[in-house]
Amino acid sequence: MNLKTFRGGIHPPEHKEPTRDLPIEHVPTPKSVVIHLTQAIGAQNQPLVKVGDRVVKGQMIGDVQACPAATVHASITGIVKKIEPAPQSNLKDGMAVFIEADGTDETVYMAPLDAFVCSREEAIKRLRDAGVVGMGGASFPTDVKLAPPADKPIDTIIANGSECEPYLNIDYRTMIESPADVVEGLAIAAHIVGATRAVVAIESNKADAVPVIEREFQQHAHGMHMETVLVATKYPEGGEKMLMKAVTGREVPSKGLPFDIGVICQNVGTLKAIKEAFVDGKPLIERGFTVSGGACKTPKNLYAPIGTVIADLIPDVIQISDDVRKVIFGGPMMGVTVPSLQTPVAKGTSGILFFSAAESKQYEERLCIRCGRCADACPAWLMPMLMNAALDANDANRADAIGLVDCFECGACSYVCPARIPLTQRFKLGKDLLRNQRAKEARHGK
């Protein structure tokens, strides 16, 4: 079969077998949680609670009157013990609310809201009040994403079931276990933006999810045109821009946004959260994630309150071996290594990987041999080796001319590099260098 895809990309080993067929397991309510006030791209939230307050599961505890930002909520019922900086999976150590459970399972959710009856403004407000963000990893506030400017009409919405990161299976399990929620959420999102075409894009290695999803179209499509599209199993197929190109053939313009081409893409987990925000009135306070890796003795798909500290899951829920060297939040291609097991699960945590010493090998970096594999792998069709050469010469402007800012740091170039050059890292730093140079030029009135 001729699968839809994009040009470029790589085929890393999938490592999905250990957790592929394991149902999502709900962890017992933790005794305490650490909820960071700011978990999404955007403005810094202010706490809405004080130390000593009793908070109820579902209660909003962090907000700021700014756009974009996403509210945060208590994920367990209990007492606020302290509000102070804590290790965060984005390595920013932001302010967090420490809640100690009081053993009750009281909840305070919002009243259900019929997305197909309420106004657009009400619907957007609901998404904001529920603190829904993109759960594939980027944590972009969903209320902002589903409210594109009026002059940018949306005709297509894509449910992202591609999950191209190795090891991770949480999106796949969500599709298999909660297909009705995913399709209902897709219908709601499509209705909010006025899309006429709703597509569930699934990688070919998860083809068995296709009939499961299609079965729900009858009941949950709300009269909308829905279809599934099988896309090639390739990294980064689940990258928003790549998936849009594969499904619609349209390219998000450089420095532009998806709504410039009339498309919106939402992770399937996010769609489930959208459904819950409307149908159940439940804010985004829990999420699923895959736990795996060579140093993880108990690969699993888990469902836990946001703010659950990994250390608290060990050893009752997760067992890790002594030779663990890396703890990665997210997948192995774009995930972030954290320095401490005291790091809590965040809204954007799609996986937690424990890598052994053998999996954490460091390599000697060699000079670029210009083999061109990075350019073949680059889904943005850049020339990483030339950008690297320009940055070696501290010439950020030259690197930019080649395409530095069009790099979205998927890691494909670093993965294929036979000289073991950390290209992706170099480009992250290069973007800082470019910003600094531009700022300097601006100051000197250039």
Binding site: K245, V324, K326, S360, A380, G411, Y415, P422
Partner: protein, 330 residues
């Protein structure tokens, strides 16, 4: 909590890397050169192997000793020096003095590669630089050709290459006579199989294509440059009134196109650059054959193009998202 003393490593994404490294890539090139080397032994005798061994050992030793002398890390295990040594031997006559092969590959490694920082820093192909220097320094040794052991007509211990016969004013008919072929197509076949005088590894198109096919299938090399170079040789030869098929099969075109013009470090990385490099190298080669002093021009053709690579690398291909804004139907 357990593992209180656990040491966690922090590193930037990705946390995954392919198993393919420089050593494996160079290993593939070595494998791809083996058919041509075997052909060299078949057509010119076991001395071909001796010349190759000396050239390889000299290249590896030169790299190792140079880096040791500079107290830098040695990288001979990446096998790139082995490739350079092999390539140089394959473009030498089988009668080359062993000391000359050693000097050529050591010169290529030290002057063309290590002085520029080692693998990745060089701007010119070390094997070709080695050959160019030998050709200028000891032209007599570099143009002393032995006939193929399987030649139909052998009337001397030395002979001329097909291109050499043309340079001395001969015609294709003279070449046909020299290999004892029955006609033009029989000549083409003899040349394609490699049954002619020439450098150790350049004569057999068949064996070179075999190795090249391996590199193409394993995606080590890109076909753009060799295709462009061969096409340019064909076209330019035709323009100059030379037999185009003969021109492609003669000399070192196929070896140069598939194994030298595809050298990663010294050729363009941009797609248009690759086409331009191939066309330029092919055209320069024919110009040298037609107008120059030497019968063959592949070495200088490619070296000349090596110099302009930084310019060819400025031709950046279209990036994702650089399309005209789409009209959205409201």
């Amino acid at each position: 909590m357990e593992n209180k003393t656990m040491k966690l490593v922090l590193s930037g994404a990705p946390h995954f890397v392919t198993g393919n490294d420089i050593q494996k890539t160079m290993g593939m090139v070595i494998i791809a050169l083996l058919p041509a080397l075997a052909g060299g032994v078949y057509f010119f005798g076991p001395r071909a192997l001796l010349v190759t061994a000396v050239s390889v050992v000299s290249a590896v030793a030169a790299e190792f000793l140079f880096r040791k002398a500079l107290r830098r890390e040695t990288h001979v295990t990446d096998l790139s020096a082995v490739v350079t040594g092999m390539l140089l031997a394959l473009i030498l006559p089988v009668s080359s003095p062993l000391w000359m092969a050693a000097v050529g590959s050591a010169f290529g490694i030290v002057v063309a590669k290590e002085l520029f920082g080692g693998l990745g820093g060089n701007f010119a192909n070390p094997a070709l630089v080695g050959r160019a220097v030998l050709l200028m320094s000891w032209p007599a040794f570099m143009t002393r050709w032995s006939p193929s052991l399987h030649a139909a007509v052998v009337d001397a211990t030395t002979t001329a290459t097909p291109l050499g016969i043309l340079k001395l004013g001969g015609t294709i008919a003279d070449v046909i006579k020299s290999v004892g072929a029955s006609g033009k197509s029989a000549l083409y076949l003899q040349m394609f199989l490699g049954n002619r005088a020439g450098c150790i590894g350049e004569t057999s198109g068949l064996l070179l294509l075999l190795g090249a096919a391996f590199l193409v299938v394993t995606r080590v090399i890109d076909l753009r440059t060799p295709v462009a170079m061969i096409a340019a040789v064909f076209a330019a030869s035709w323009l100059f009134g030379r037999d185009p098929v003969f021109s492609v099969l003669a000399g070192g075109i196929l070896l140069g196109a598939f194994f030298m013009a595809t050298d990663y470090v010294t050729t363009p990385v941009t797609p248009i650059g690759k086409w331009a490099f191939g066309i330029g190298a092919g055209f320069m080669t024919v110009l040298i054959r037609q107008l120059g002093n030497f019968p063959e021009g592949v070495t200088y053709g490619i070296l000349l193009m090596n110099v302009v690579v930084p310019y060819l690398d400025k031709i950046i291909p279209r990036k994702f998202g650089f399309v005209k804004p789409r009209k959205v139907n409201a």
